[in-house]
Amino acid sequence: MVALARKTLFREWSRFVPAILAIGFAGVLLIMQAALVLGIFGSAAIYVDATSAEIWAGYPGTQSVSLGRPVQRDLEMWLRMDPEVTAVEPMYWVDGDWRSENSRGGVSVYVTGVNADKHGLMYDKILPEHLRRQLLEPNAVIVDRSDLDSLGVSVGDDAWIDGKRVHVVAAIQGLRALGGVNVITSLQTAHILGATGVTYFVAKLKDPTQTQAVIQRMSGQATFGRYELWSASDFAWRSQQYWMMDTGAGAAVLFLAAIVFVVGAVITSQSLTAVVIASSREYATLNALGAGMNALRRVVLSQAVWIGSFGMVLGGIISTALLIAAKECDVPIGMTPMVAVICVVLIFGLAIVSGFIAMAGLLRADPAILMR
Protein backbone atom coordinates (compact mmCIF):
# COMPACT_ATOMS: atom_id res chain seq x y z
CA MET A 1 0.00 0.00 0.00
CA VAL A 2 1.36 3.41 -1.00
CA ALA A 3 1.69 5.49 2.17
CA LEU A 4 -0.35 8.38 0.79
CA ALA A 5 -0.84 10.09 4.18
CA ARG A 6 2.84 10.01 5.11
CA LYS A 7 4.13 10.96 1.68
CA THR A 8 1.68 13.86 1.40
CA LEU A 9 2.62 15.07 4.88
CA PHE A 10 6.36 14.97 4.19
CA ARG A 11 6.11 16.39 0.66
CA GLU A 12 3.60 19.13 1.42
CA TRP A 13 4.56 19.74 5.04
CA SER A 14 3.81 23.45 4.85
CA ARG A 15 0.07 22.72 4.45
CA PHE A 16 0.12 20.75 7.69
CA VAL A 17 2.09 23.24 9.78
CA PRO A 18 -1.02 25.01 11.20
CA ALA A 19 -2.47 21.69 12.38
CA ILE A 20 0.86 20.58 13.88
CA LEU A 21 1.23 23.94 15.65
CA ALA A 22 -2.33 23.70 16.97
CA ILE A 23 -1.67 20.24 18.41
CA GLY A 24 1.75 21.28 19.71
CA PHE A 25 0.48 24.32 21.57
CA ALA A 26 -2.59 22.51 22.89
CA GLY A 27 -0.10 19.96 24.20
CA VAL A 28 2.02 22.69 25.81
CA LEU A 29 -1.07 24.12 27.51
CA LEU A 30 -2.15 20.71 28.80
CA ILE A 31 1.33 19.74 30.01
CA MET A 32 2.10 23.08 31.65
CA GLN A 33 -1.30 23.14 33.28
CA ALA A 34 -0.79 19.65 34.66
CA ALA A 35 2.75 20.55 35.81
CA LEU A 36 1.54 23.69 37.57
CA VAL A 37 -1.33 21.85 39.23
CA LEU A 38 1.04 19.14 40.42
CA GLY A 39 3.50 21.77 41.57
CA ILE A 40 1.02 24.02 43.34
CA PHE A 41 -1.07 21.33 44.94
CA GLY A 42 1.97 19.15 45.49
CA SER A 43 3.22 21.84 47.86
CA ALA A 44 0.26 20.98 50.10
CA ALA A 45 2.06 17.71 50.76
CA ILE A 46 5.65 19.00 50.80
CA TYR A 47 5.92 18.08 54.51
CA VAL A 48 5.16 14.44 53.70
CA ASP A 49 7.03 14.23 50.41
CA ALA A 50 10.23 15.71 51.87
CA THR A 51 10.23 13.20 54.71
CA SER A 52 11.25 9.57 54.43
CA ALA A 53 9.01 8.29 57.26
CA GLU A 54 6.53 5.66 56.09
CA ILE A 55 3.75 6.29 58.62
CA TRP A 56 2.07 9.47 59.80
CA ALA A 57 -0.05 9.55 62.93
CA GLY A 58 -2.43 12.48 63.48
CA TYR A 59 -5.89 13.53 64.59
CA PRO A 60 -8.66 11.36 63.04
CA GLY A 61 -10.17 12.72 59.84
CA THR A 62 -7.40 15.24 59.15
CA GLN A 63 -7.92 16.30 55.51
CA SER A 64 -4.62 18.04 54.90
CA VAL A 65 -1.28 18.30 56.72
CA SER A 66 -1.92 21.97 57.42
CA LEU A 67 -5.22 21.16 59.17
CA GLY A 68 -3.76 18.96 61.93
CA ARG A 69 -4.84 19.04 65.57
CA PRO A 70 -2.87 17.87 68.61
CA VAL A 71 -2.66 14.18 69.51
CA GLN A 72 -1.69 12.61 72.83
CA ARG A 73 2.05 12.52 73.56
CA ASP A 74 2.04 8.90 74.74
CA LEU A 75 1.02 7.82 71.22
CA GLU A 76 4.77 7.87 70.56
CA MET A 77 5.24 5.02 73.06
CA TRP A 78 2.50 2.98 71.45
CA LEU A 79 4.11 3.36 68.03
CA ARG A 80 7.52 2.43 69.37
CA MET A 81 6.09 -0.81 70.76
CA ASP A 82 5.71 -2.26 67.28
CA PRO A 83 8.79 -4.35 66.41
CA GLU A 84 8.70 -3.13 62.81
CA VAL A 85 9.10 0.53 63.85
CA THR A 86 12.70 1.72 64.05
CA ALA A 87 12.20 5.42 64.83
CA VAL A 88 9.40 7.77 65.89
CA GLU A 89 9.55 11.53 66.27
CA PRO A 90 7.04 14.34 66.81
CA MET A 91 6.22 17.24 64.54
CA TYR A 92 4.74 20.52 65.82
CA TRP A 93 2.57 22.74 63.70
CA VAL A 94 2.18 26.39 64.62
CA ASP A 95 0.27 28.99 62.62
CA GLY A 96 2.08 32.26 63.15
CA ASP A 97 2.27 35.87 62.10
CA TRP A 98 5.66 36.93 60.70
CA ARG A 99 6.96 40.44 60.93
CA SER A 100 10.32 41.85 59.99
CA GLU A 101 11.84 45.26 59.62
CA ASN A 102 11.34 45.21 55.86
CA SER A 103 8.03 43.36 55.61
CA ARG A 104 4.89 45.29 54.84
CA GLY A 105 2.59 44.18 57.62
CA GLY A 106 2.24 40.61 58.86
CA VAL A 107 2.73 37.47 56.78
CA SER A 108 0.95 34.24 57.67
CA VAL A 109 3.48 31.50 58.24
CA TYR A 110 3.27 27.78 58.90
CA VAL A 111 5.91 26.88 61.44
CA THR A 112 6.88 23.23 61.54
CA GLY A 113 8.98 22.21 64.53
CA VAL A 114 11.05 19.16 63.67
CA ASN A 115 13.76 16.98 65.16
CA ALA A 116 16.94 18.73 63.98
CA ASP A 117 19.28 15.93 65.01
CA LYS A 118 21.58 14.39 62.44
CA HIS A 119 19.34 11.34 62.01
CA GLY A 120 16.03 13.19 62.25
CA LEU A 121 13.24 11.93 59.99
CA MET A 122 11.34 15.14 59.20
CA TYR A 123 12.56 16.90 56.05
CA ASP A 124 15.48 14.51 55.74
CA LYS A 125 15.15 14.74 51.93
CA ILE A 126 15.67 18.49 51.77
CA LEU A 127 17.62 19.34 54.94
CA PRO A 128 21.24 18.22 54.82
CA GLU A 129 23.22 17.64 58.00
CA HIS A 130 24.89 21.08 58.13
CA LEU A 131 21.52 22.85 57.94
CA ARG A 132 20.07 20.60 60.64
CA ARG A 133 23.00 21.56 62.83
CA GLN A 134 22.26 25.24 62.23
CA LEU A 135 18.62 24.64 63.18
CA LEU A 136 19.75 23.48 66.61
CA GLU A 137 20.68 27.07 67.46
CA PRO A 138 17.96 28.66 69.61
CA ASN A 139 15.40 30.64 67.57
CA ALA A 140 16.94 29.50 64.25
CA VAL A 141 14.58 29.20 61.29
CA ILE A 142 14.94 28.08 57.69
CA VAL A 143 12.68 29.35 54.89
CA ASP A 144 12.31 28.87 51.15
CA ARG A 145 14.60 31.15 49.15
CA SER A 146 11.72 32.31 46.98
CA ASP A 147 9.86 33.53 50.11
CA LEU A 148 12.67 35.79 51.30
CA ASP A 149 11.24 38.81 49.50
CA SER A 150 7.72 38.41 50.82
CA LEU A 151 9.12 37.84 54.32
CA GLY A 152 11.26 40.96 53.96
CA VAL A 153 14.46 39.28 55.16
CA SER A 154 17.78 37.93 53.96
CA VAL A 155 19.71 35.01 55.37
CA GLY A 156 21.24 36.17 58.65
CA ASP A 157 18.47 38.65 59.45
CA ASP A 158 16.19 38.59 62.47
CA ALA A 159 12.41 38.66 62.38
CA TRP A 160 9.47 38.08 64.74
CA ILE A 161 6.88 35.33 64.81
CA ASP A 162 3.97 36.23 67.07
CA GLY A 163 6.28 38.75 68.71
CA LYS A 164 9.07 36.24 69.39
CA ARG A 165 12.44 36.87 67.77
CA VAL A 166 13.73 34.33 65.22
CA HIS A 167 16.94 34.24 63.23
CA VAL A 168 17.02 33.20 59.55
CA VAL A 169 19.96 30.81 59.33
CA ALA A 170 19.39 29.49 55.80
CA ALA A 171 17.13 29.58 52.76
CA ILE A 172 16.53 26.44 50.76
CA GLN A 173 14.68 25.36 47.62
CA GLY A 174 11.51 23.27 47.44
CA LEU A 175 9.72 24.46 50.57
CA ARG A 176 7.04 26.69 49.03
CA ALA A 177 3.67 26.40 50.72
CA LEU A 178 0.08 26.71 49.53
CA GLY A 179 -1.67 29.73 51.05
CA GLY A 180 1.18 30.76 53.33
CA VAL A 181 4.91 30.57 53.95
CA ASN A 182 6.67 27.54 55.42
CA VAL A 183 9.13 28.11 58.24
CA ILE A 184 11.19 25.24 59.68
CA THR A 185 12.42 25.29 63.22
CA SER A 186 13.71 22.81 65.73
CA LEU A 187 11.31 21.24 68.26
CA GLN A 188 12.76 23.50 70.94
CA THR A 189 12.25 26.71 68.94
CA ALA A 190 8.71 25.60 68.09
CA HIS A 191 8.00 25.38 71.82
CA ILE A 192 9.33 28.89 72.27
CA LEU A 193 7.05 30.03 69.42
CA GLY A 194 4.00 28.64 71.18
CA ALA A 195 3.58 25.00 70.16
CA THR A 196 1.26 23.48 72.71
CA GLY A 197 1.12 19.87 71.62
CA VAL A 198 2.34 17.35 69.11
CA THR A 199 0.43 17.64 65.83
CA TYR A 200 1.87 14.53 64.19
CA PHE A 201 4.15 11.63 64.92
CA VAL A 202 6.12 10.18 62.03
CA ALA A 203 7.46 6.64 62.11
CA LYS A 204 10.19 4.86 60.18
CA LEU A 205 9.88 1.14 59.48
CA LYS A 206 12.46 -1.59 59.02
CA ASP A 207 10.67 -2.83 55.95
CA PRO A 208 8.61 -0.22 54.06
CA THR A 209 6.54 -3.01 52.43
CA GLN A 210 5.04 -3.69 55.88
CA THR A 211 3.46 -0.22 56.08
CA GLN A 212 -0.15 -1.36 55.66
CA ALA A 213 0.29 -4.27 58.06
CA VAL A 214 1.72 -1.96 60.75
CA ILE A 215 -1.07 0.60 60.20
CA GLN A 216 -3.64 -2.16 60.57
CA ARG A 217 -2.29 -3.56 63.83
CA MET A 218 -1.47 -0.20 65.42
CA SER A 219 -4.80 1.50 64.66
CA GLY A 220 -7.81 1.80 66.95
CA GLN A 221 -6.05 1.67 70.34
CA ALA A 222 -8.36 3.89 72.37
CA THR A 223 -5.97 3.98 75.34
CA PHE A 224 -3.79 6.49 73.47
CA GLY A 225 -6.56 8.94 72.69
CA ARG A 226 -8.00 9.81 69.33
CA TYR A 227 -5.59 9.24 66.48
CA GLU A 228 -5.44 7.87 62.94
CA LEU A 229 -2.54 6.34 61.02
CA TRP A 230 -1.85 6.93 57.34
CA SER A 231 0.83 5.76 54.98
CA ALA A 232 2.96 8.69 53.73
CA SER A 233 1.64 8.32 50.16
CA ASP A 234 -2.00 8.22 51.31
CA PHE A 235 -1.56 11.28 53.51
CA ALA A 236 0.19 13.21 50.73
CA TRP A 237 -2.57 12.32 48.26
CA ARG A 238 -5.26 13.18 50.82
CA SER A 239 -3.68 16.63 51.36
CA GLN A 240 -3.45 17.34 47.62
CA GLN A 241 -6.95 16.04 47.00
CA TYR A 242 -8.33 18.33 49.70
CA TRP A 243 -6.91 21.40 48.00
CA MET A 244 -7.83 20.26 44.52
CA MET A 245 -11.35 18.99 45.12
CA ASP A 246 -12.69 20.56 48.29
CA THR A 247 -11.51 24.03 47.33
CA GLY A 248 -13.00 23.73 43.81
CA ALA A 249 -9.59 24.37 42.27
CA GLY A 250 -9.52 20.85 40.81
CA ALA A 251 -12.84 21.35 39.04
CA ALA A 252 -11.56 24.64 37.63
CA VAL A 253 -8.44 22.91 36.36
CA LEU A 254 -10.46 20.12 34.73
CA PHE A 255 -12.75 22.70 33.16
CA LEU A 256 -9.77 24.56 31.77
CA ALA A 257 -8.30 21.30 30.43
CA ALA A 258 -11.61 20.58 28.68
CA ILE A 259 -11.55 24.07 27.12
CA VAL A 260 -7.97 23.54 25.92
CA PHE A 261 -9.03 20.19 24.43
CA VAL A 262 -12.06 21.63 22.64
CA VAL A 263 -10.23 24.71 21.32
CA GLY A 264 -7.32 22.52 20.19
CA ALA A 265 -9.70 20.10 18.45
CA VAL A 266 -11.54 22.93 16.67
CA ILE A 267 -8.36 24.59 15.37
CA THR A 268 -6.67 21.32 14.41
CA SER A 269 -9.74 19.88 12.71
CA GLN A 270 -10.28 23.09 10.74
CA SER A 271 -6.67 23.04 9.52
CA LEU A 272 -6.94 19.36 8.64
CA THR A 273 -10.30 19.82 6.94
CA ALA A 274 -8.78 22.55 4.74
CA VAL A 275 -6.06 20.11 3.69
CA VAL A 276 -8.63 17.40 2.93
CA ILE A 277 -10.81 19.80 0.92
CA ALA A 278 -7.77 20.99 -1.04
CA SER A 279 -7.25 17.38 -2.15
CA SER A 280 -10.95 16.62 -2.68
CA ARG A 281 -10.59 16.14 -6.45
CA GLU A 282 -7.77 13.64 -5.94
CA TYR A 283 -9.78 11.81 -3.29
CA ALA A 284 -12.81 11.87 -5.60
CA THR A 285 -10.71 10.31 -8.36
CA LEU A 286 -9.59 7.56 -5.99
CA ASN A 287 -13.20 6.99 -5.04
CA ALA A 288 -14.19 6.85 -8.72
CA LEU A 289 -11.51 4.23 -9.23
CA GLY A 290 -13.10 2.16 -6.49
CA ALA A 291 -11.28 3.15 -3.28
CA GLY A 292 -14.10 3.03 -0.72
CA MET A 293 -14.95 5.94 1.54
CA ASN A 294 -13.63 3.93 4.50
CA ALA A 295 -10.25 3.66 2.80
CA LEU A 296 -10.22 7.45 2.27
CA ARG A 297 -11.24 8.00 5.90
CA ARG A 298 -8.28 5.86 6.95
CA VAL A 299 -5.98 8.15 4.95
CA VAL A 300 -7.35 11.21 6.80
CA LEU A 301 -7.08 9.46 10.15
CA SER A 302 -3.55 8.38 9.44
CA GLN A 303 -2.68 11.98 8.58
CA ALA A 304 -4.20 12.98 11.92
CA VAL A 305 -2.01 10.44 13.73
CA TRP A 306 1.09 11.78 11.98
CA ILE A 307 0.08 15.34 12.86
CA GLY A 308 -0.52 14.23 16.45
CA SER A 309 2.93 12.65 16.61
CA PHE A 310 4.70 15.71 15.24
CA GLY A 311 2.59 18.01 17.40
CA MET A 312 3.44 15.96 20.45
CA VAL A 313 7.18 16.10 19.73
CA LEU A 314 6.90 19.87 19.25
CA GLY A 315 4.79 20.27 22.39
CA GLY A 316 7.16 18.01 24.33
CA ILE A 317 10.24 20.04 23.37
CA ILE A 318 8.60 23.38 24.18
CA SER A 319 7.14 22.06 27.44
CA THR A 320 10.49 20.63 28.55
CA ALA A 321 12.16 23.99 27.93
CA LEU A 322 9.38 25.80 29.82
CA LEU A 323 9.52 23.34 32.72
CA ILE A 324 13.28 23.80 33.02
CA ALA A 325 12.84 27.60 32.93
CA ALA A 326 10.05 27.39 35.53
CA LYS A 327 12.21 25.26 37.80
CA GLU A 328 15.03 27.80 37.52
CA CYS A 329 12.62 30.58 38.49
CA ASP A 330 11.29 28.64 41.51
CA VAL A 331 7.83 28.34 39.94
CA PRO A 332 6.13 25.39 41.65
CA ILE A 333 5.87 22.64 39.05
CA GLY A 334 5.75 18.89 39.12
CA MET A 335 5.30 15.94 36.78
CA THR A 336 4.78 12.25 37.31
CA PRO A 337 5.03 9.43 34.73
CA MET A 338 1.30 8.78 35.08
CA VAL A 339 0.36 12.41 34.40
CA ALA A 340 2.81 12.52 31.48
CA VAL A 341 1.12 9.43 29.99
CA ILE A 342 -2.32 11.03 30.49
CA CYS A 343 -1.10 14.16 28.65
CA VAL A 344 0.22 12.05 25.76
CA VAL A 345 -3.07 10.14 25.54
CA LEU A 346 -5.04 13.41 25.58
CA ILE A 347 -2.89 14.95 22.82
CA PHE A 348 -3.27 11.84 20.67
CA GLY A 349 -6.98 11.83 21.45
CA LEU A 350 -7.11 15.45 20.31
CA ALA A 351 -5.46 14.51 17.00
CA ILE A 352 -7.77 11.53 16.48
CA VAL A 353 -10.90 13.58 17.28
CA SER A 354 -9.67 16.24 14.83
CA GLY A 355 -9.18 13.52 12.22
CA PHE A 356 -12.74 12.32 12.69
CA ILE A 357 -14.07 15.88 12.36
CA ALA A 358 -11.92 16.48 9.26
CA MET A 359 -13.47 13.42 7.61
CA ALA A 360 -16.44 15.65 6.89
CA GLY A 361 -14.22 17.24 4.23
CA LEU A 362 -14.43 13.96 2.32
CA LEU A 363 -18.09 14.68 1.61
CA ARG A 364 -16.76 16.98 -1.10
CA ALA A 365 -14.87 14.08 -2.64
CA ASP A 366 -17.91 13.05 -4.68
CA PRO A 367 -16.63 11.62 -7.97
CA ALA A 368 -19.62 13.13 -9.76
CA ILE A 369 -17.99 16.57 -9.30
CA LEU A 370 -15.19 15.47 -11.60
CA MET A 371 -17.54 15.37 -14.57
CA ARG A 372 -18.93 18.86 -14.31
Binding site: L4, E282, G290, A368
Partner: protein, 265 residues
Protein backbone atom coordinates in the same frame (compact mmCIF):
# COMPACT_ATOMS: atom_id res chain seq x y z
CA UNK B 1 -32.99 3.43 -32.70
CA UNK B 2 -30.42 1.23 -34.38
CA UNK B 3 -28.01 0.46 -31.61
CA UNK B 4 -25.60 -2.12 -32.94
CA UNK B 5 -24.71 -3.20 -36.36
CA UNK B 6 -22.60 -6.15 -35.35
CA UNK B 7 -23.50 -9.27 -33.40
CA UNK B 8 -21.94 -8.08 -30.18
CA UNK B 9 -23.81 -8.14 -26.92
CA UNK B 10 -24.01 -4.61 -25.47
CA UNK B 11 -21.83 -4.15 -22.43
CA UNK B 12 -23.60 -1.02 -21.16
CA UNK B 13 -27.27 -0.26 -21.49
CA UNK B 14 -29.37 2.75 -20.48
CA UNK B 15 -33.09 2.14 -20.54
CA UNK B 16 -35.30 5.24 -20.50
CA UNK B 17 -33.15 7.13 -18.03
CA UNK B 18 -34.05 10.63 -16.88
CA UNK B 19 -32.08 13.05 -14.76
CA UNK B 20 -32.82 16.57 -13.59
CA UNK B 21 -31.07 19.06 -11.32
CA UNK B 22 -32.53 21.80 -9.19
CA UNK B 23 -30.87 25.19 -9.40
CA UNK B 24 -32.51 27.56 -6.94
CA UNK B 25 -36.22 27.34 -7.66
CA UNK B 26 -35.73 26.07 -11.19
CA UNK B 27 -35.63 22.40 -12.09
CA UNK B 28 -33.52 21.65 -15.13
CA UNK B 29 -34.19 18.44 -17.04
CA UNK B 30 -30.80 17.14 -18.22
CA UNK B 31 -31.77 13.73 -19.62
CA UNK B 32 -35.22 12.72 -20.70
CA UNK B 33 -36.09 9.03 -21.10
CA UNK B 34 -32.85 8.36 -22.93
CA UNK B 35 -32.05 4.81 -24.08
CA UNK B 36 -28.75 3.63 -25.48
CA UNK B 37 -26.65 0.46 -25.72
CA UNK B 38 -22.84 0.62 -25.82
CA UNK B 39 -20.80 -2.17 -27.38
CA UNK B 40 -17.52 -3.59 -26.11
CA UNK B 41 -14.17 -3.44 -27.91
CA UNK B 42 -14.82 -0.10 -29.53
CA UNK B 43 -14.33 3.57 -28.83
CA UNK B 44 -17.73 5.20 -28.47
CA UNK B 45 -17.79 8.96 -28.39
CA UNK B 46 -20.55 11.14 -27.00
CA UNK B 47 -20.30 14.60 -28.47
CA UNK B 48 -22.44 17.68 -28.27
CA UNK B 49 -22.52 21.28 -27.11
CA UNK B 50 -21.92 22.32 -23.51
CA UNK B 51 -24.85 21.59 -21.24
CA UNK B 52 -26.38 18.97 -23.52
CA UNK B 53 -26.09 16.32 -20.81
CA UNK B 54 -23.23 14.26 -22.18
CA UNK B 55 -21.15 14.28 -18.98
CA UNK B 56 -24.26 13.45 -16.95
CA UNK B 57 -24.94 10.51 -19.24
CA UNK B 58 -21.35 9.33 -18.79
CA UNK B 59 -21.51 9.60 -15.01
CA UNK B 60 -24.78 7.65 -14.92
CA UNK B 61 -23.52 4.93 -17.25
CA UNK B 62 -20.37 4.61 -15.17
CA UNK B 63 -22.24 4.34 -11.88
CA UNK B 64 -20.98 7.63 -10.45
CA UNK B 65 -24.54 8.98 -10.34
CA UNK B 66 -27.95 7.37 -10.26
CA UNK B 67 -30.71 8.32 -12.69
CA UNK B 68 -33.97 9.78 -11.34
CA UNK B 69 -35.82 7.11 -13.31
CA UNK B 70 -34.97 4.35 -15.74
CA UNK B 71 -32.37 1.62 -15.43
CA UNK B 72 -28.71 1.29 -16.33
CA UNK B 73 -27.11 -2.08 -16.86
CA UNK B 74 -23.47 -3.10 -16.99
CA UNK B 75 -23.84 -6.50 -18.67
CA UNK B 76 -26.21 -8.28 -16.26
CA UNK B 77 -25.79 -5.93 -13.31
CA UNK B 78 -28.41 -3.23 -12.76
CA UNK B 79 -26.21 -0.30 -11.72
CA UNK B 80 -29.10 2.02 -11.02
CA UNK B 81 -30.39 -0.34 -8.32
CA UNK B 82 -27.02 -1.07 -6.73
CA UNK B 83 -26.09 0.17 -3.27
CA UNK B 84 -23.25 2.64 -2.77
CA UNK B 85 -20.99 -0.18 -1.58
CA UNK B 86 -21.87 -2.32 -4.61
CA UNK B 87 -21.15 0.59 -6.94
CA UNK B 88 -17.76 1.12 -5.29
CA UNK B 89 -16.97 -2.56 -5.82
CA UNK B 90 -18.14 -2.36 -9.45
CA UNK B 91 -15.93 0.64 -10.07
CA UNK B 92 -13.00 -0.98 -8.25
CA UNK B 93 -13.01 -4.22 -10.22
CA UNK B 94 -14.40 -3.23 -13.62
CA UNK B 95 -13.86 0.43 -14.45
CA UNK B 96 -11.19 2.93 -15.23
CA UNK B 97 -11.71 6.71 -15.38
CA UNK B 98 -9.93 9.51 -17.16
CA UNK B 99 -10.98 13.00 -16.24
CA UNK B 100 -10.43 16.39 -17.81
CA UNK B 101 -8.35 17.45 -14.81
CA UNK B 102 -5.55 15.02 -14.15
CA UNK B 103 -6.24 14.83 -10.42
CA UNK B 104 -2.85 13.41 -9.50
CA UNK B 105 -1.59 13.51 -5.92
CA UNK B 106 1.30 16.03 -5.88
CA UNK B 107 3.30 13.97 -3.38
CA UNK B 108 3.32 10.72 -5.35
CA UNK B 109 5.57 9.66 -8.21
CA UNK B 110 4.06 8.57 -11.53
CA UNK B 111 4.44 4.93 -10.50
CA UNK B 112 2.87 5.49 -7.07
CA UNK B 113 -0.13 7.29 -8.63
CA UNK B 114 -0.89 4.01 -10.37
CA UNK B 115 0.10 1.66 -7.54
CA UNK B 116 -2.26 3.38 -5.11
CA UNK B 117 -5.61 2.41 -6.72
CA UNK B 118 -4.17 -1.00 -7.60
CA UNK B 119 -3.44 -1.65 -3.94
CA UNK B 120 -7.17 -1.37 -3.20
CA UNK B 121 -7.68 -4.36 -5.49
CA UNK B 122 -5.79 -6.41 -2.93
CA UNK B 123 -2.77 -6.93 -5.17
CA UNK B 124 0.67 -7.43 -3.60
CA UNK B 125 3.22 -4.65 -3.63
CA UNK B 126 5.38 -6.32 -6.29
CA UNK B 127 2.39 -6.96 -8.56
CA UNK B 128 1.20 -3.34 -8.17
CA UNK B 129 4.65 -2.10 -9.05
CA UNK B 130 4.90 -4.43 -12.07
CA UNK B 131 1.54 -3.38 -13.43
CA UNK B 132 2.30 0.30 -12.85
CA UNK B 133 5.58 0.08 -14.75
CA UNK B 134 3.88 -1.85 -17.57
CA UNK B 135 1.09 0.71 -17.82
CA UNK B 136 3.56 3.61 -17.86
CA UNK B 137 5.51 1.87 -20.63
CA UNK B 138 2.25 1.36 -22.52
CA UNK B 139 1.55 5.08 -22.52
CA UNK B 140 5.16 5.88 -23.39
CA UNK B 141 6.24 7.11 -19.97
CA UNK B 142 8.62 4.31 -19.11
CA UNK B 143 11.33 6.89 -18.56
CA UNK B 144 9.24 9.06 -16.20
CA UNK B 145 8.39 6.46 -13.55
CA UNK B 146 9.90 8.35 -10.61
CA UNK B 147 8.72 11.82 -11.64
CA UNK B 148 6.12 13.71 -9.60
CA UNK B 149 3.30 15.73 -11.23
CA UNK B 150 5.20 19.02 -10.85
CA UNK B 151 7.94 17.57 -13.04
CA UNK B 152 5.58 16.41 -15.82
CA UNK B 153 4.02 18.31 -18.73
CA UNK B 154 0.22 18.46 -19.15
CA UNK B 155 0.29 15.71 -21.76
CA UNK B 156 2.47 13.53 -19.55
CA UNK B 157 0.16 14.07 -16.59
CA UNK B 158 -2.83 12.98 -18.67
CA UNK B 159 -0.90 9.93 -19.80
CA UNK B 160 -0.17 9.06 -16.15
CA UNK B 161 -3.92 9.42 -15.48
CA UNK B 162 -4.60 7.09 -18.43
CA UNK B 163 -2.01 4.60 -17.18
CA UNK B 164 -3.70 4.75 -13.77
CA UNK B 165 -7.00 3.78 -15.38
CA UNK B 166 -5.33 1.24 -17.68
CA UNK B 167 -3.32 -0.61 -15.05
CA UNK B 168 -6.52 -1.94 -13.51
CA UNK B 169 -7.13 -3.73 -16.82
CA UNK B 170 -10.69 -2.44 -16.73
CA UNK B 171 -13.58 -3.88 -18.62
CA UNK B 172 -14.96 -0.36 -18.95
CA UNK B 173 -12.99 2.81 -19.52
CA UNK B 174 -14.76 6.14 -19.13
CA UNK B 175 -13.14 9.34 -20.28
CA UNK B 176 -14.48 12.86 -19.80
CA UNK B 177 -12.93 15.42 -22.17
CA UNK B 178 -9.57 13.64 -21.99
CA UNK B 179 -7.92 15.85 -24.61
CA UNK B 180 -9.37 19.27 -23.88
CA UNK B 181 -6.42 20.43 -21.79
CA UNK B 182 -3.80 19.07 -24.16
CA UNK B 183 -1.89 20.40 -27.15
CA UNK B 184 -2.37 18.79 -30.57
CA UNK B 185 0.45 16.26 -30.27
CA UNK B 186 -0.45 15.16 -26.75
CA UNK B 187 -4.14 15.01 -27.71
CA UNK B 188 -3.36 12.76 -30.67
CA UNK B 189 -1.32 10.44 -28.43
CA UNK B 190 -4.18 10.15 -25.95
CA UNK B 191 -6.68 9.45 -28.75
CA UNK B 192 -4.50 6.67 -30.12
CA UNK B 193 -4.13 5.12 -26.68
CA UNK B 194 -7.90 5.13 -26.09
CA UNK B 195 -8.53 3.48 -29.44
CA UNK B 196 -5.81 0.93 -28.80
CA UNK B 197 -7.30 0.03 -25.41
CA UNK B 198 -10.66 -0.64 -27.03
CA UNK B 199 -9.34 -2.65 -29.94
CA UNK B 200 -6.48 -4.54 -28.32
CA UNK B 201 -7.83 -5.05 -24.81
CA UNK B 202 -11.47 -5.46 -25.81
CA UNK B 203 -12.55 -2.82 -23.28
CA UNK B 204 -15.68 -0.76 -23.62
CA UNK B 205 -14.33 2.75 -24.05
CA UNK B 206 -16.91 5.48 -23.63
CA UNK B 207 -15.66 8.98 -24.09
CA UNK B 208 -17.25 12.41 -23.82
CA UNK B 209 -15.65 15.10 -25.93
CA UNK B 210 -16.28 17.94 -28.32
CA UNK B 211 -12.77 17.55 -29.72
CA UNK B 212 -13.14 16.95 -33.49
CA UNK B 213 -9.92 14.95 -33.58
CA UNK B 214 -11.62 12.39 -31.38
CA UNK B 215 -14.71 12.27 -33.60
CA UNK B 216 -12.53 11.18 -36.48
CA UNK B 217 -11.02 8.32 -34.49
CA UNK B 218 -14.16 7.02 -32.79
CA UNK B 219 -15.73 3.76 -33.90
CA UNK B 220 -19.11 5.15 -33.05
CA UNK B 221 -20.35 8.65 -32.40
CA UNK B 222 -23.41 9.62 -30.39
CA UNK B 223 -24.36 13.24 -31.03
CA UNK B 224 -26.36 14.74 -28.17
CA UNK B 225 -28.44 17.85 -27.88
CA UNK B 226 -30.88 18.93 -25.15
CA UNK B 227 -30.59 15.64 -23.32
CA UNK B 228 -31.42 13.52 -26.36
CA UNK B 229 -29.30 11.56 -28.82
CA UNK B 230 -29.88 13.10 -32.22
CA UNK B 231 -27.44 11.11 -34.31
CA UNK B 232 -25.88 7.71 -33.72
CA UNK B 233 -23.41 6.79 -36.44
CA UNK B 234 -20.35 4.65 -37.04
CA UNK B 235 -17.01 5.40 -38.67
CA UNK B 236 -17.90 2.88 -41.38
CA UNK B 237 -21.14 4.69 -42.16
CA UNK B 238 -20.92 8.40 -41.36
CA UNK B 239 -23.88 10.75 -42.06
CA UNK B 240 -23.59 13.01 -45.11
CA UNK B 241 -22.58 16.11 -43.17
CA UNK B 242 -19.65 14.16 -41.70
CA UNK B 243 -18.56 12.55 -45.02
CA UNK B 244 -16.00 15.20 -45.87
CA UNK B 245 -14.42 15.12 -42.46
CA UNK B 246 -14.42 11.35 -42.51
CA UNK B 247 -12.84 11.14 -45.99
CA UNK B 248 -10.16 13.48 -44.85
CA UNK B 249 -9.63 11.28 -41.83
CA UNK B 250 -9.40 8.11 -43.99
CA UNK B 251 -6.86 9.79 -46.23
CA UNK B 252 -4.82 10.64 -43.21
CA UNK B 253 -5.07 7.13 -41.87
CA UNK B 254 -2.51 5.69 -44.26
CA UNK B 255 0.05 8.24 -43.18
CA UNK B 256 -0.81 7.73 -39.59
CA UNK B 257 -0.78 3.94 -39.80
CA UNK B 258 2.84 3.62 -38.74
CA UNK B 259 2.20 5.91 -35.82
CA UNK B 260 -0.84 3.90 -34.78
CA UNK B 261 1.28 0.74 -34.60
CA UNK B 262 3.21 2.57 -31.96
CA UNK B 263 0.79 5.21 -30.67
CA UNK B 264 3.43 6.92 -28.61
CA UNK B 265 6.03 7.32 -31.31
Amino acid sequence: MSLHSENKKPSLIADKISKSFTSGLIQIQILSELSIAILPAELTLISGPSGCGKSTLLSILSGLQSPDSGTTWAEDKALSRASKRELERFRLYHTGFIFQGFNLFPALTASEQIELPLSYLGLGKAECRKRAVEALHEVGLGHRIQQRPAELSGGEKQRVAIARALAKRPQYLFADEPTSALDAASGQTVINILRQIAHQHGSTVLCVSHDHRLIQHADRVLEMEDGMIHHDWRATNPPPDHQATHSHFLAQQGAAETRRQDPLA
